[in-house]
């Protein structure tokens, strides 16, 4: 029989690592178990083509990572550097494009090229998004209150929520209520007249979501992509130097430095429950590890439907878990390139190739891409969010060569209701590179190696149920005290000693580290240990 730990964390993704690091920092003997033989989960850099060619295989850019976590876990000391990239570009089929730049005047001029009025409206749009960001950001590092509870802390937290909402003022409360329930297409129409301007803002409303730009609730998804920052520059995104794996590596080094142990290479077969409380984990290789605290960083369905005995759980609870919306909608291509692609629209010396690139003309075209998903196939004219991190980060590839990260919407978890075949995965990859080739002739000839990932690969490799990158849809019915399910939004499972720290929990997906941090605060409180988790930094 092995040593009994103070805590066991299942899944060495960024939230599991964050959680483990805070527990270890508080002096708990902590074990991290990871099914893959590498750590990081979806926050990972892997060398699949050749040595010194890194891919950010899953997540690929960084903005949401809470700066409070970055600082308090000393991630800079453990080698993490996040470098912002400049802006984005949306390329249309007619050869035109629209760029968004960091400098507001330059950005304004570019929008004015398409619509003078929209250039002006951008000020109003940015202001309104920023207002929503300011409101939501203060709740990221807080545990949501239970609105039905009469416990003092829940009442106080509800009061706090109410007070912050009232501070917005009458008009902003109305705006906020509309914003959280609107579709991104409708929201953008209230600001912009030009279809390309609208299209350029719309992608953030559907990335990672099994919803279309015309589906209610997608305006919030946009906010989820805008509420991060790089060094206080809100809405800015950056690259982790060395790929996203640099984040998990720094977190893991911190965890190890505080005495944490890691067992990688065998997944959890089941969470061991005895007399109604979690007491440890049994791994697929037969090993068992014991602890009175078991923290799951796995998705909600994976935790309860795959890794627990249903007899240990209430039927009503299981039903809610089954109803949790966690639908795969995204795919990804990681491509090693022999040189920089040449986008016809960006010919010359545009810096825009260093930023986020999208291939879309209008919200209507984006909605049609969603129609294919509903019909059970991958989008034949997909929405692409692509970056070439090696343009900025010299550590990704040898000089002159490039790594291109191509995120794709929409890709269904099953094709026509059936499991993906290897052939279909390759066909999907071809659909995407054909699309890029149209905008960058000669692109195909540059490809040295390609990793194609559909929801099938995301689930089997990373454990993301159905391949949903956020560990659950980001809609009002699954946000704040409704996330993951009502009554269980405070990081505690239905079984004593079982905690949840993954993105299925508030405040949701993205490489944010907030669920992991918030769960650690709850665990340390329950154990009456000194809290090592920071409060959020408040703006005023």
């Amino acid at each position: 029989m092995t040593k009994k730990y103070d805590a066991i964390v299942i899944g060495a993704g960024h939230n599991g690592l964050t959680n483990g690091a805070y527990l270890a920092k508080a002096g708990l003997s902590t074990l991290m178990v990871e099914k893959n033989d590498y750590i990081g989960g979806a926050t990972v850099s892997r060398e699949l083509y050749k040595k010194d060619w890194k891919y950010s295989n899953c997540s690929y850019v960084c903005s949401l990572l809470r700066p409070e976590v970055y600082r308090s876990l000393n991630l800079a000391k453990y080698g993490l550097q996040v470098v912002p990239y400049g802006g984005s570009v949306t390329i249309a089929q007619n050869g035109d494009y629209i760029g968004h730049f960091v400098d507001p005047d330059v950005s304004r001029r570019e929008v004015a090229r398409h619509s003078l009025r929209d250039a002006d409206a951008t000020v109003r749009y940015d202001r309104d998004i920023m207002r929503q960001c300011r409101f939501i950001r203060q709740f990221l590092l807080r545990t949501p209150p239970d609105p039905t509870s009469f416990k003092p802390r829940d009442l106080l937290e509800m009061l706090h929520l109410g007070k912050e909402a009232m501070k917005l003022g009458e008009d902003l409360i109305y705006d906020t209520m509309r914003f959280y329930t609107m579709s991104i297409a409708d929201f953008l129409e209230e600001y912009f007249e030009n279809p390309l301007v609208r299209a350029s803002h719309s992608g953030s409303g559907i990335i990672g979501s099994a919803l279309g730009v015309m589906s209610p609730g997608t305006a919030y998804v946009l906010l989820h992509h805008a509420m991060g920052d790089v060094d206080g520059s809100m809405g800015a995104w950056g690259f982790a130097r060395g790929g996203m794996g640099a984040i998990s590596k720094a977190m893991h080094d911190c965890f190890t430095d505080h005495g944490g142990d890691t067992v990688a290479g065998s997944g959890v077969d089941r969470i061991i429950v005895k007399n109604g409380r979690a007491v440890g984990v049994a791994l697929e290789n037969g090993d068992e590890h014991y602890s009175d605290v078991v923290v799951s960083n796995m998705t909600l369905p994976r935790t309860f439907l795959e890794c627990m005995d249903s007899r240990d759980l209430d039927d009503g609870f299981l039903k809610k878990v089954k109803n949790f919306k966690i639908r795969g909608s995204s795919g990804k291509l990681n491509i090693a390139l022999d040189g920089a692609p040449n986008f016809t629209a960006l010919e010359g010396h545009s810096e825009l190739i260093r930023g986020d690139m999208h291939l879309i003309d209008s919200t209507e075209r984006l909605e049609r891409a969603y129609d294919d998903w509903k019909n059970g196939i991958w989008s034949q004219d997909p929405y692409i969010d692509m970056l070439i991190p090696s343009m900025t980060d010299p550590t990704m590839t040898p000089p002159g060569k490039h790594f291109m990260s191509v995120f794709v919407q929409y890709v269904p978890p099953k094709v026509n209701g059936k499991d993906w075949t290897d052939e279909q995965v390759q066909q999907f990859g071809q659909t995407v590179i054909n699309q890029i080739e149209e905008y960058a002739p000669g692109f195909k000839d540059l490809i040295l190696h390609m990793e194609v990932r559909t929801p099938r690969e995301l689930e089997s490799e990373v454990g993301l149920t159905e391949g949903n990158i956020f560990q659950g849809e980001l809609t009002m019915d699954q946000l704040m005290f409704n996330r993951p399910i009502p009554g269980f939004a405070q990081y505690r499972g239905p079984v004593k000693g079982l905690y949840l720290c993954g993105s299925s929990n508030h405040p949701g997906g993205g490489v944010m580290a907030a669920p992991g941090a918030n769960a650690a605060r709850e665990i340390l409180g329950d154990l009456r240990k000194t809290n090592t988790v920071p409060e959020g930094w408040l703006d005023d």
Binding site: D96, Y97, G99, F101, D103, D105, V106, R108, R109, E110, R113, L116, R117, D118, A119, D120, A121, V123, R124, R127, M130, R131, R134, G169, D171, L172, A345, G348, H349, S350, E351, L352
Partner: protein
């Protein structure tokens, strides 16, 4: 125009001439254009504006054209002041508000002809102006890049324009506007400016901009004409008591924190609000504010001592927080430390005494002084020549 990134900032139509004068080789940006902070000496350029005349490029100012049969009713709904009172050939200062009665921007309304107006503003406004055009028979367009502008400000400015051949310019009264034939091109001249002194603004087709600059400097050579940068203008406008968007108030369209915005009353611009002209944007909110009282007063402070009070806190004599300074300087013309400050209402009545917490540095050593200050009613620099028609030659 896909090569926009090659010229992300426009050179002004006067750029070639600015370049000749710009000895310091420093450039700044003003909206879409390159601008000059100081050509060779901020102080010399400032005194040109008070002693002779200075030339300041105002092309970057955002310009709009409003035309059509409903131009007047449209503007009267948009603006807080009664635009009917700005007759053709006249210019009026105004602010415009959102429905909460908070100032979006301030600017000048040029009544060019019946049903034809130009609106100059600090911020881009075309989206808001067009939104407001719904239901009016009016055409609203931005024509910033189609009009080049120069401000000629200072006591010799009228004489320079006379020497340049603008016959009868001396008869133009303050806030008047007129046009001249300038070597075959129309030159519009208004007796307006941002310096609180005698001065004019000249408006011309950008194609003829360089020629205008040249003629002006030829005519002004013996009258102390000097190119003036934005640093000098900043000093001139504070002395004149003019407020600046983004400095003395936060434009409502940009305000992430809505409570940080100001109403016209809170900026000391109650005289620009006309309740008896009918409905206008913000009327209801402003009526309520008038009844309940405002949250702030923007005041002019005369501060004891010689230290400029930039970015200072203002306290009551019994050390209670009263507000903050928005703009401050040592005034070379008033020979006083002066400031504009936003104080919490009802504080800020003329004559009321305060203390200003000033941090100042001498050879890298910081010190702090609590300087007594009082609210003054009149602007710090208000020479009679500003109003005199015809103006003297110097």
């Amino acid at each position: 125009m896909q090569n926009h990134y090659e010229n992300a900032v426009y050179p002004s139509p006067f750029h070639s001439r600015q370049k000749q004068h710009n000895q310091l080789k420093e450039w700044s940006r003003w909206a879409d254009y390159l601008s000059v902070p100081a050509y060779w000496c901020e102080s010399m350029e400032y005194f040109a504006g008070r002693n002779a005349c200075g030339v300041f490029d105002i092309t970057p100012m955002v310009k709009h054209r409003v035309t059509g049969p409903d131009a007047l009713p449209y503007l009267n709904r948009l603006m807080t002041r009664d635009v009917r009172k700005i007759k053709p050939g006249r210019v009026g200062y105004s602010v415009w508000c959102n429905e909460q009665g908070r100032v979006i921007d301030d600017g000048t309304i040029f009544h060019l002809a019946e049903g034809d107006y130009r609106i100059c503003s600090q911020e881009h406004q075309i989206d808001w102006f067009m939104t407001n055009a719904l239901g009016f028979d009016v055409t609203v367009a931005e024509d910033t890049h189609d009009v080049a502008g120069l401000a000629l400000q200072g006591p010799t400015s009228c004489a320079v324009l006379k020497d340049m051949g603008l016959k009868g310019i001396e008869n133009l009264t303050p806030f008047g506007l007129t046009t001249f034939d300038f070597e075959g091109t129309e030159l519009m001249v208004s007796r307006t400016g941002f310096t609180g002194d005698l001065g004019y603004e000249l408006w011309i087709d950008p194609e003829h901009a360089e020629r205008l600059w040249d003629r002006l400097f030829e005519a002004g050579e013996l009258r102390g004409i000097m190119a003036m940068g934005s640093d000098a203008l900043e000093l001139l406008r504070i002395e004149a008591g003019f407020i600046l968007a983004g400095v003395d108030f936060l434009p409502a369209m940009e305000a992430v924190r809505p409570t940080h915005t100001r109403s016209p009353f809170e900026l000391g611009l109650g005289w620009l609000v006309s309740f008896d002209k009918g409905i206008f944007n913000g009327r209801q909110a402003l009526l309520e504010e008038k009844e309940k009282g405002s949250r702030y007063n923007l005041v002019k402070l005369d501060i004891d001592g010689n230290k400029p009070a930039s970015q200072s806190y203002v306290y009551t004599p019994n050390k209670k927080f009263a507000g903050t300074v928005t703009s401050a300087m040592w005034s070379p013309s008033a020979k006083a430390s002066i400031a504009l400050a936003s104080l919490e209402a009802p504080l800020g009545k003329p004559g009321e005494e305060f203390e200003v917490e000033i941090y100042y540095q001498r050879e890298l050593k910081w010190s702090r002084v609590m300087a007594p200050a009082r609210v003054v009613k009149d602007v710090f620099w208000d020479p009679p020549r500003k109003r005199q028609t015809p103006p003297a030659d110097f």
